[in-house]
Assembly symmetry: C2
Homo-oligomer: 189 residues x 2
DNA sequence: ATGGTGAGTGAGTGACTACTCACTAGTCAG
DNA sequence: CTGACTAGTGAGTAGTCACTCACTCACCAT
């Protein structure tokens, strides 16, 4: 199939589109189980061209993870701006809400879970560490909350991931309600 | 290579050994990235025989995950027995310590992370849900702690996983200390 | 002896997939 | 017009891996 377009998009635009496609594709089945072809199809280009812009699958995945963390930072920042007072707990709460709605579509969440699982690859582990560092330092500095509160924020974020990957929020059983209690939800679109 | 042994072990013993080998093998690189051959080598038998006892790789992985949850339950129960008082918080604390030493060798922890990542496979997701259910109901019933305390217990368990997969406990930086603060460690053997 | 049975394997096979490469086609400066 | 450049692809290749199958060997009951 030929792509007929009057004005060709340049490589940087393509890179953006590919990273976006990779975020969605890798979120489905993870680093190992997602063929690069799946990313290419989503981006509407050939697999060969994906490899021209991202020399290895690993680099592509890492770009997607990096993008994921950037998106989280943006969301936290936006959430923080909605709070007029400087109250640490109020800002932290708003950030929690913001994160909850960000991960409503699952891909941002799943990429993190997959990256954690693939963290035996040194570069992926390093990316995870870097992303976590960015988020923790940003939350601490921006909210001014106590170390304990920030730690708790991260811990319950992880709990959120567990709840979503196992689908226990759709379960209705007692133990499931216990685990998911108070976790804020925005229903998937 | 021939296995010369006077008394052949029966299939059930072999199954045990294979599950144990699978736990270690899959912990290294996860469900997708670990070839069944790796499990066979660890168990000291041929790959063909692994497939005779576990018809698919998926069933093998699930057996390993199940075994992981069983091990966790045993550990929690043993920890609970060390507490003479019936104080909920004391038992929960002991369980936390027990879990921390259980995951010191990483394989029990990594299997969970990998299973979470592979939870787009329905049977694996179901196994995760089942394991979580067993643990949550056991902890709640055995400690008699509040729902909030049990939820917190699970959340900080997940935080533990994040800390270990990203190696941030060996980092020494401020943000890393914040995240890992108070998480109990038993140094790896 | 003989034939059945359970434990175990060597040697495939077919499918998939990361990555490569030689190539086409549009665009534009001179 | 030409030649360099950029965007993009079709058709591979080499390697890996889940799973299969025909087989061997030890043991045992008759």
């Amino acid at each position: 199939m030929k792509h007929i377009r009057t004005n060709l998009s340049d490589a940087d635009t393509r890179r953006e589109a590919i990273v976006e496609a990779a975020l969605l594709a890798f979120a489905d089945a993870g680093f190992q189980a997602t063929p690069v072809t799946a990313v290419a199809v989503r981006a509407g280009i050939s697999q060969a061209y994906v490899f021209k812009l991202f020399p290895t699958k690993e680099e592509l995945f890492i770009a997607a993870v990096e993008r994921c963390f950037t998106r989280i930072e943006e969301t936290l920042e936006k959430s923080a701006r909605t709070v007029s007072s400087g109250d640490a707990d109020a800002i932290l709460y708003a950030m929690g809400d913001g994160y909850a709605s960000l991960i409503a579509d699952r891909s941002i969440l799943m990429i993190q879970v997959h990256a954690q699982s693939a963290s035996d690859v040194p570069a992926i582990r390093a990316t995870m560490r870097g992303g976590l560092k960015r988020i923790v330092t940003y939350v601490k500095q921006r909210t001014g909350a106590s170390d304990e509160a920030v730690q708790r924020f991260i811990a319950f974020g992880q709990l959120c991931h567990l709840i979503t990957t196992t689908d226990i929020d759709e379960l209705g059983e007692d133990w499931a309600r216990l685990v998911a209690r108070g976790i804020r939800h925005v229903p998937a679109i």
